[in-house]
Symmetry: C2
Subunit: 503 residues, 2 copies
Amino acid sequence: MTEKQEQNYLELSGLQREISLLVSISALVEWDQRCYMPPGGSEHRAAQTEYLAGRIHAKATSPRIGDLLNELEATRFDDKRDPRAVNIREWRREYDLRTKLPQEFVEELSRTTSLAQDAWVAARRNKDFPAFKPWLEKITELKKQEADYYGWTVEPYDALLDSYEPGAKASEIAVVLEGLRDQLVPLLQAIQGSPRKPQVSILHRDFPEEAQEAFVKRVAAAIGYNFDRGRLDQTTHPFCTSIGPNDVRITTRFIRNHVNAAFFGVLHEAGHGLYQQNLPPQHAYTPMAEAVSLGIHESQSRMWENAVGRSLAFWKFWFPEAQKAFTALKNVKLDEFVFAINAVEPSFIRVEADETTYNLHILLRFELERAMVKGDLKPSDVPGAWNEKVKAYFGLTVPDDAQGCLQDIHWSSGYIGYFPTYSLGNLNAAQFFAKAQEDLGDLEAMFEKGEFSPLLEWLKKNIHQHGKRYLSAELTKVVTGKPLESKPLIDCLKRKASLWYGV
Amino acid sequence: MTEKQEQNYLELSGLQREISLLVSISALVEWDQRCYMPPGGSEHRAAQTEYLAGRIHAKATSPRIGDLLNELEATRFDDKRDPRAVNIREWRREYDLRTKLPQEFVEELSRTTSLAQDAWVAARRNKDFPAFKPWLEKITELKKQEADYYGWTVEPYDALLDSYEPGAKASEIAVVLEGLRDQLVPLLQAIQGSPRKPQVSILHRDFPEEAQEAFVKRVAAAIGYNFDRGRLDQTTHPFCTSIGPNDVRITTRFIRNHVNAAFFGVLHEAGHGLYQQNLPPQHAYTPMAEAVSLGIHESQSRMWENAVGRSLAFWKFWFPEAQKAFTALKNVKLDEFVFAINAVEPSFIRVEADETTYNLHILLRFELERAMVKGDLKPSDVPGAWNEKVKAYFGLTVPDDAQGCLQDIHWSSGYIGYFPTYSLGNLNAAQFFAKAQEDLGDLEAMFEKGEFSPLLEWLKKNIHQHGKRYLSAELTKVVTGKPLESKPLIDCLKRKASLWYGV
């Protein structure tokens, strides 16, 4: 870099730091809305959210950033992985995405989704899709508009997808998910034909909320989630958010008669939290200290939730502790418990679905939202279409929309094109875990002793510390030596099916 | 208003609304820091707070606001109480206060107090004044600088005082407080000579936190605090804050073996909350929907805490409920309980002090901070000076600085000149309450039946709905027909001394 370029880089970093501060303030405002805001606060909160979104957009689209990027892109880097080269690349990407959206549009979308989230909470509680329908219509129209602003070639949905998982295409996702489906359906049939059945009722016994909270906090701390730099609160829809480099918060919900929600929900969110807590601090406030993509983020949460948290080895260590914490587990055998948490059965609720059927839930949402954005499906027809697909994939009849199309917060938040990243997460989780096992030896033997730091250190070294150094597909290749493939996930699910169901 | 003036007023309102939004976001950021932020978040939080303070300052000092005010001040209003006239007057006041402080100074003060608050929490916990001393020195220097920026004639402390209670003067406050002291000391001596003694140990029995929380929430709701537009959380130092017109939050602390902290702390904060919740909504985002001054704000909290909450009538209604909620009160008689909560005795902690000694605590702080700002007292000499005054006023020996000069958050927050407003609050509370009783008849008979809405409606009509229509001294005159005087407070304390101590 020339001296002039150094100066430009410094100026650009300063402008981006200001944007980061506003984004972090916005994250706190949203966290509060979902955790603690009283109902009356809704209208003013929408004004606050809209204002912040508008300020962020205005700053992130300032022509000065464009000018500085133009100058900096003339820099020759010996290594395109140089942190400054990576930051310039990512700032350019963000700038291009931003400058394609007019400020009034960003503010309207933000205001709409803020109110829609509150409407969704009420609609879900009251099982009242008609109350939510106008919001879904409004949001779908806005997202189509957004896709048009970004521009697209094959179909508008691609433009939305790209903003969550750079470079991904709907047609390719469809192929991958349908491929997974073709493998999973025969496996699911074999499992359903097995005479062995887990006692899932074990998980529906009485697990007092306070005891759940104490237990999951111990587990989260044991896998490395740092409560001095984070916290756990309760929300309807669990999430993980970064308020600052050393303030990474997770949420969960405690269901007294269904222990899975918190047990695996917290492992999931703590998995996200571990990624955020271990991004490289020396690059704070730049893309080099941000996660690669939603798919890679989800690979971390899924790995801790499933590859670790549903393993027999994990529970060899934790089950005796769980038995001390819950009288409901007093007379339960380890094997019975672990079989129950690995039960495979068709169900209504995505966040409680098992590993084998989970990706079918994603396929269903992906198909519906893709059709809505294409204009092939009206929002008013969503409940019917949803229920038909649930019937077709799982053989189940949806009893009400709270257990159907109103179950997820995503659409009310404007997250259309987001769901597929969950499946990309599952695929990457399995592929990374297989590689970690190859590198570290017998991970399960470590889990049995309550040792989780070797896996965490491997993740820090191979994934977390890189920030946005690599794009999603590149990272998979760099870490595992192979492009993303479905084999590791299928292998893992088949191994489990064999272990528990004997098929 | 001419058409041009109408346009200017509209433009100014828009600029002020933006400032209000930023202030409300800043309030949420501070609420979170004090209620929920994990320890690791401290450094980034200081950056967020500094950034917001800087943005607010930059916007509030924009020359455009000065130009618009200049133009609008030419407007002839038939009534100087016209809401627009009031808003213009107050926006001018804020603008003048703001433009006297350079932005770098505001940011430095904000950053310093953010870190100082965290240092204070640790210092108080560890009873370690030396750890807090450098922060007190730094803050005192900054506040002297602030006074110089504002300008002063008699002494720099006046300039600080004025920012909390417009028009007040240190020399006048000293006269009032010393006058109160001259009345209270003989009363205190008479009380201490009385053979009747309350059983204060009743209040130090076992009151489980969960039961306290449930009880105080019921009481707060019963006096009219709206939980759909507010909430109650826990903090070291209780406070009330407005996140938005319909989002007014209060905090408290639950001390298992000292029920007063939460019982009267929540009545106090709910008193503030009632004022904020009942400001005129049609004037939202303008001074017409803001409280008059800190002293008037405190008059509301003190009235609910003391005039209502410590009355025999109030407990005729609530004591049977308290007995159901706490086994500790099972065999206690109503009179014993109400005597205990009206106990008069010298103590270390201001927030737990009784009505009679409270203003001596204020006098002590006022004298010390006034001397620090004058340069007559070094921050390093504060513990010694504090302890000497406690000895002189209360005859007590301070056991450690956590119970002495480290007990209050104010100085760490940069609130120097703030304490006297508490006494102005006590004086106004007594004077307003006497007038309400004159207007409404037997308030105590209403309290006995659990009826608090007549008093609340009176406060809404006479105080809350006016926003900043009147200055503090004007409001006292308009509502009670008299200037502020000490007689109602002295009368009230003497009546209680006679009732309980027979003196």
